[in-house]
């Protein structure tokens, strides 16, 4: 196994800068690793070896010619399959988009390409990003590299697992209710949901427009900051994109300064309902932050108890409308109804949607259609929007008392595949701590804070900051990471069991 695949993106950047390794070598090392282990992990839905090597070679040529290139030029990346990529199949994990090849790039993909970052391929996910285990992919589940019998989280299980399995140094995720942060937590990786509007949504196949946000998935806080800087910033193609510059996230990650910072523990997101080992690792992390000069306070966000309920009204409502476009008329799957000789367009639409959508997607479309119906709108969608305002008000009040808020990212460590498939509500509970940030549009990070005593699986530590103060996530995250690495004698992923390389590169 090449050491290049265990190297952080920041280190790869300096290796490339000094010429110690070429972009082609680094990209090839990751493609070899994918070939060797991905039949076990199934992090990728599509691998673009040719395209990745071609763009790596271009970067090498530019570097050799002495041209100015981006600091991450030549560092390869995996992209969640919900992000459209020109010329590369994009399915969002759904059968209804099987074989669809987009004619355009998402803005963030354009930015990756402009930075010279080779795209290794597209990662697996719950269908249309709906789920917390990646088991709702139409193309089969992804497995957690820490324990192949367990889930890698979701919806972005593919991106998180690719990092933990050393198949990619960087990945892109999207987070509507926790789909970046929860997979990061259960795979011992880092995931950031930026402030809503901080990264363009243009080219993200929408699940819930008012909640969706793309962000970096990495193995270190600094790597996340570097990637955040590449993909962030205003995009005129997205009306909800923020106007200002990207916050100074790289600087914050490098300085790791938390002295005098007030760290607020959210009362409602601790204690009962969180696995013992999760609580233990969370508490010991707090001690590290105090050690680093921060001050810990407790804050209450009373409306957070309604967050899950509000989320499961707002999100499905938007889903029911956003997914209406998948109708077999212009692209994707087309299924003709059985037993009808001369079907109408409506009958083809219905047959295609019946065959092309999985149960979880159908469940949410039905929920949302109902919630928006005349006569129910005020009671469901209307009330949920009011709860959203209350949650935003809770955040505003809490950020008066604390500079950042913290909680465990997920209530449990990775659960076994299949354990929650028949119990949607228990699956939804995985996002109890991550959803409030989406409802209020504030940024959040999850970073590994150790292994739970009872099962030896990774635990995630979540930090939330006020909107447009993303740099605080990186300052606090980096400070905690440094002290944890010091205590552990290296990154947590050094302790991941080795995967059997089934194919020799």
């Amino acid at each position: 196994m090449s050491t290049l695949i265990r190297t952080s993106a920041a280190e790869l950047a300096s290796i490339l800068a000094t010429g110690e390794a070429s972009a082609v070598e680094i990209t090839q090392a990751h493609l070899d690793r994918i070939a060797a282990v991905d039949d076990q992990v199934h992090a990728f839905l599509h691998v673009d070896a040719e395209g990745a090597l071609r763009s790596a070679a271009e970067v090498d040529k530019l570097r050799a010619a002495g041209d100015d290139v981006h600091v991450l030029a030549g560092v390869p990346i995996a992209v969640k399959d919900v992000v459209v990529t020109r010329g590369l199949p994009t399915t969002a994990g759904s059968a209804i988009l099987r074989g669809w090849v987009p004619p355009y790039d998402a803005t963030l993909v354009t930015r990756l390409k402009n930075a010279g970052m080779p795209i290794l391929g597209k990662t697996n996910m719950d269908e249309f990003a709906m789920g917390s285990s990646t088991e709702h992919s139409a193309y089969g589940p992804t497995r957690n590299p820490w324990d192949l019998t367990r889930i890698p989280g979701g919806s972005g299980g593919g991106s998180a697992a690719a990092l933990a399995a050393f198949e990619a140094p960087l990945a892109i995720g999207t987070d509507t209710g926790g789909s970046i942060r929860q997979p990061a937590a259960v795979t011992g990786t880092v995931g950031v949901k930026p402030t809503y509007g901080g990264v363009s949504r243009y080219g993200l196949i929408a699940m819930a427009s008012s909640l969706d946000q793309a962000g970096p998935c990495t193995r270190s806080v600094l790597d996340a900051a570097l990637l955040h800087s590449v993909i962030g910033g205003h995009d005129p193609m997205d009306s909800t994109s923020l106007a200002g510059p990207v916050p100074a996230v790289v600087e914050a990650a490098r300085n790791a300064d938390v002295s005098g910072m007030r760290i607020g523990i959210i009362t409602e997101l601790t204690g009962d309902g969180f696995q013992l080992g999760v609580r233990e690792r969370f508490d010991s992390s707090l001690a590290h932050l105090v050690d680093a000069g921060a001050q810990v306070v407790e804050v209450s966000c009373p409306s957070f108890v309604y967050a899950l309920a509000a989320y499961y009204l707002v999100m499905p409502s938007e889903v029911s409308s956003n997914l209406a476009k998948f109708d077999a008329m212009r692209y994707g799957l087309r299924v003709f109804p059985e037993g009808i000789d001369d079907p109408s367009a409506e009958q083809v639409m219905a047959a295609t949607r019946d065959a092309g959508f999985g149960d979880e997607v159908k469940r949410r479309i039905i929920l949302g259609t109902y919630a928006l119906s005349s006569g129910y709108y005020d009671a469901y969608y209307g009330s949920a929007q009011k709860v959203r305002s209350l949650i935003a008000a809770d955040f505003a009040a809490a950020f008066e008392q604390a500079d950042v808020l913290v909680s465990p990212t997920a209530p449990t460590t990775a659960f076994p595949l299949g354990a929650k498939l028949s119990d949607p509500l228990s699956m939804y509970m995985q996002d109890i701590a991550t959803i409030p940030a989406n409802l209020a549009g504030v940024p959040g990070i999850s970073l590994p804070c150790g292994l739970a005593g009872e099962d030896g699986l990774p635990v995630g530590f979540q930090i939330l900051a006020p909107a447009m103060k993303d740099e605080r996530l990186y300052a606090v995250g980096s400070a905690l990471e440094q002290r944890l690495h010091h205590a552990w004698g290296g990154p947590l992923l050094h302790r991941i069991p080795a995967l059997t390389e089934t194919k020799e590169a």
Binding site: V84, W100, P103, A206, M329, T369, S374
Partner: protein, 508 residues
């Protein structure tokens, strides 16, 4: 679906208006003339090849997002202001959800309970000179759908077609939907009021320059809601909604037809079905479309992909201050200023000449001269070419300055009227400016008074009978002698001078 039946019972119009009061609601869609679509940068050129003016946004491809066209919002506000509406200080777009193959996203981005403009009115002038006020409920922004072409059936409608083609060029073109409050109290004048309202609205939107409002090209479309209530009853009856009534004449006829149809149903003790009706331009009747229940549920909710529209009050005031004069007011002002008779004014308006005349007068022409030159030969030629006069004139490179020049040649004494007509024809034939044409053709009044006197004497001598009549007081006979003088002088005589000289010789 559609059944083209013809035999629906109708009540005589006089009987309808004697027994019932009509209530109308008019919904007019105006396609804005913006260069690009409402939510993307695609062109909006009419008549382009199918599906050539499309992109990921207006095709509703996965991942694409809308961005609002600022000119679209400005146009909507200007229409709202011109309709005396209040302008929302904050409003949102909303999604109207329903499935249809020509709607790429299967929702239409529209506005629901927060329209950009609301509570206005439009005063329309009726043929008897009276004014009828139509109250405006709202004007809101939305996007057009694609266009379905149903192939293989006899009627071009979906019923009986073997397949359908969809052109998405129209998808995403900005529309403003203008909805009236219920129009009550029009009585027997309801069809005229409907027509006058749509005509006035068309002129207003055209004057704003925000749309070409060509009903025949679909850039202005009208839906007519109509119900009847028995005289003395204040409660509205059940309405029908006649879709896509696409000419002024059809608006009037369809209201009249529906009044007669409703009247027959009600008089027979029946109940009007709440439904969509199709208007048939050729036969002048409506036929039943889909039954429209109040339960139709579009599941409107605020469009999360767009930010709210919050026009700054100062900007709205700027737009208000820059509104053009309302067309009706302008017409009255100019008619008075130009001294045109009602008949002359009607001809000028029908030929669409008012702008050209106004520009020519501003450039120095007399109103009568401007009217004469713009409504003569050039109007005939434009008509033959199937164009309106102003675009025909633009095509020729003929503008107000040439009219001023031509008139100057007449008032300056170089040309008489007949010569000026020849010169104008030369100008329209592309021979150059009026002066150049007159020079090239050697047109010049003969100012030699000796020659004129000689010609006059000669003609009087040669026509003793006519001369005798004039001496007896039949002054109108002078025309015959002027013609002869003109002929003798090869058309270069000043007709007025010839006339006074002849009269001088014969009556003194």
């Amino acid at each position: 679906m559609t059944q083209v039946s013809t035999g629906e019972a109708l009540m005589a119009y006089d009987e309808v208006v004697a027994a019932y009061d009509p209530v109308m609601g008019l919904e007019v869609h105006v396609e804005l003339g913006t260069a690009t679509k409402m939510f993307c940068g695609c062109a909006t050129t009419f008549g382009a090849d199918p599906n050539t003016q499309v992109c990921p946004v207006c095709l509703g491809l996965p991942g694409a997002l809308p961005v609002v066209n600022a000119i679209g919002i400005e146009s909507a506000i200007r229409i709202g202001l011109a309709l005396n509406c209040e302008i929302a200080s904050w409003c949102r777009f909303a999604r109207k959800n329903y499935f249809y193959p020509d709607m790429p996203k299967n929702f239409q981005t529209s506005q629901y309970d927060e329209p950009i403009a609301f509570n206005g009115h439009l005063d329309v002038e009726l043929e008897d000179g009276s004014t009828f006020r139509v109250d405006i409920e709202r004007a809101h922004m939305e996007e057009d759908t694609g266009k379905s072409l149903h192939v293989g059936g006899a009627t071009g409608r979906i019923h009986g077609a073997t397949h359908s083609l969809v052109d998405y060029n129209r998808a995403g073109i900005p529309l403003i939907e203008i909805v009236t409050k219920p129009i009550v109290g029009a009585g027997e004048r309801a069809p005229e009021v409907a027509r006058a309202y749509v005509a006035t609205l068309r002129d207003l939107v055209k004057a704003l320059g925000v749309s070409d409002v060509k009903m025949e090209q679909g850039s202005m479309r009208c839906d007519v809601n109509l119900s009847l209530m028995p005289k003395g009853v204040a409660e509205f009856g059940t309405r029908s909604e006649t879709k896509n009534v696409n000419s002024l004449r059809s608006v009037e006829r369809s209201v009249r037809y529906e009044m007669c149809r409703h009247g027959a149903i009600l008089a027979a003790g029946g109940a009007v079905t709440q439904e969509t009706r199709h208007w048939h331009e050729d036969t002048g009747i409506t036929t039943a479309g889909r039954v429209k229940s109040d339960a139709e549920d579009y599941r409107y909710f605020p469009e999360p992909d767009l930010v709210p529209v919050a026009p700054a009050p100062e900007w709205v005031e700027e737009l208000r201050a820059s509104l053009p004069e309302p067309p009706a007011q302008r017409r009255k002002r100019l008619q008075t200023a130009y001294g045109f008779s009602d008949l002359e004014m009607r001809d000028v308006l029908n030929a669409g000449l008012l702008d050209l005349i106004e520009e020519s007068v501003a450039a120095g022409a007399t109103p009568a001269g401007a009217r004469k030159w713009w409504s003569g030969e050039i109007a005939r030629r434009a008509n033959a070419a199937g164009q309106d006069v102003s675009s025909y004139a633009v095509g020729l490179g003929v503008g107000p300055a040439l009219v001023v020049e031509l008139e100057g040649l007449v008032t300056g004494g170089r040309l008489n009227d007949a010569m000026a007509r020849q010169v104008w024809e030369g100008v329209l034939d592309g021979e150059g400016s009026p002066t150049q044409v007159a020079d090239a053709r050697g047109l010049q009044l003969n100012r030699d008074s000796g020659a004129l006197e000689a010609a006059v004497d000669e003609v009087i001598a040669a026509n003793p009978d006519v001369a005798a009549k004039i001496r007896e007081g039949k002054v109108q006979a002078v025309g015959a002698l002027i013609g002869q003088v003109m002929k003798a002088m090869k058309g270069q005589a000043d007709a007025a001078a010839a006339r006074s000289l002849i009269l001088e010789r014969l009556t003194q």
